[in-house]
Symmetry: C2
Subunit: 186 residues, 2 copies
């Protein structure tokens, strides 16, 4: 008989830490083979979104930011957290416009993922924005300190193929965008 | 004068939750513009590794697992946590052998990332394993329930290009491997 992977049964779920938009839960889980895991950690964090933005001159619009947990100055795709109940595409357009001052006539979903499915319950959504218009109307969050960086197509592809980008799940979105744009071929 | 993005100064760091291999820290941070963030969350979790495994018949070796935080049956690359002080490549080879029962004669780093640099301080390392030999000697962790899935080259590429894989940062590693193997072209 073919092996079937089955979900676990949650017997108890306790919030052990809760601050602002983050919760840590400890769950008592019954496994299909009868074993119990106690505790299994689940981190409850918001969904987020990122946008691969391409100007009409084939430049990629990126942002440079300090990222405190990793302690790095990071070159990354614009984006941010999705508010509870907010449509992911609306959130992505909002974050793009606020962080970069660009609007897009064409805005398409690349794909969605689970950023860290063993540990975190959130989702991430990646978009491709083209036919951009610069309005210059940025609106940063209170603590945001962001530098806009435009990278020409070939330099972006070189950095992507040399694996220079190191920000989480964004690398996959960059490859998917390059395929969608015809910059990489199967 | 060109804008310079600067790091923050940690004025106080308190561990507010600690269980097994996970810690949550609340930090009081002084920003370059004089503002204070209190608290800023930092999640301390282990580094991890994943391996894109290619058989001599151009099949990709993947594993199917239940991932409890997201509540999904996930098709993903073999891999796991790196022990404190362990060499990432040694960990990746160990996880690959234990989960799949394959050894590799050729084992190369694809790239390393920060999985979630605003929130988490860990790193992830992705490898490409080729020239595989099946020993069949698996060694699962106590709670691991894993089904081995071999996917032929064209089916793998189709699923990758249709964005069927949804496990975190692994999508980027799959694209990078496909480029390295000459399955995608710039």
């Amino acid at each position: 008989m073919e092996q079937q992977i089955k979900p676990w049964l949650v017997q108890q779920s306790t919030i052990v830490y809760s601050q602002k938009w983050m919760k840590v839960k400890e769950e008592v889980c019954l496994l299909p083979d009868g074993q119990t895991i106690n505790p299994y950690f689940v981190i409850d964090v918001p969904d987020f979104c990122n946008v691969v933005m391409v100007t009409n001159q084939d430049e990629i619009v990126m942002v440079q930011q300090y990222r405190h947990a990793a302690g790095i100055i990071s070159l990354e795709l614009p984006g941010g957290m999705i508010e509870p109940g907010e449509d992911p595409m609306v959130a992505a357009k909002r974050e793009m416009e606020e962080e970069t001052g660009y609007q897009a006539n064409q805005f398409d979903l690349l794909y969605s993922i689970h950023p860290n499915p063993p540990l975190e319950n959130n989702r991430a959504h990646f978009y491709l924005a083209t036919q951009l218009t610069l309005t210059g109307k940025t609106a940063f969050d209170q603590y945001e300190d962001i530098k806009l960086v435009l990278i020409k197509k070939q330099a972006f592809l070189d950095q992507l193929l040399q694996n220079s980008f190191t920000h989480g799940a964004q690398v996959g979105a960059m490859f998917a965008a390059a395929i969608r744009l015809g910059w990489l071929k199967s």
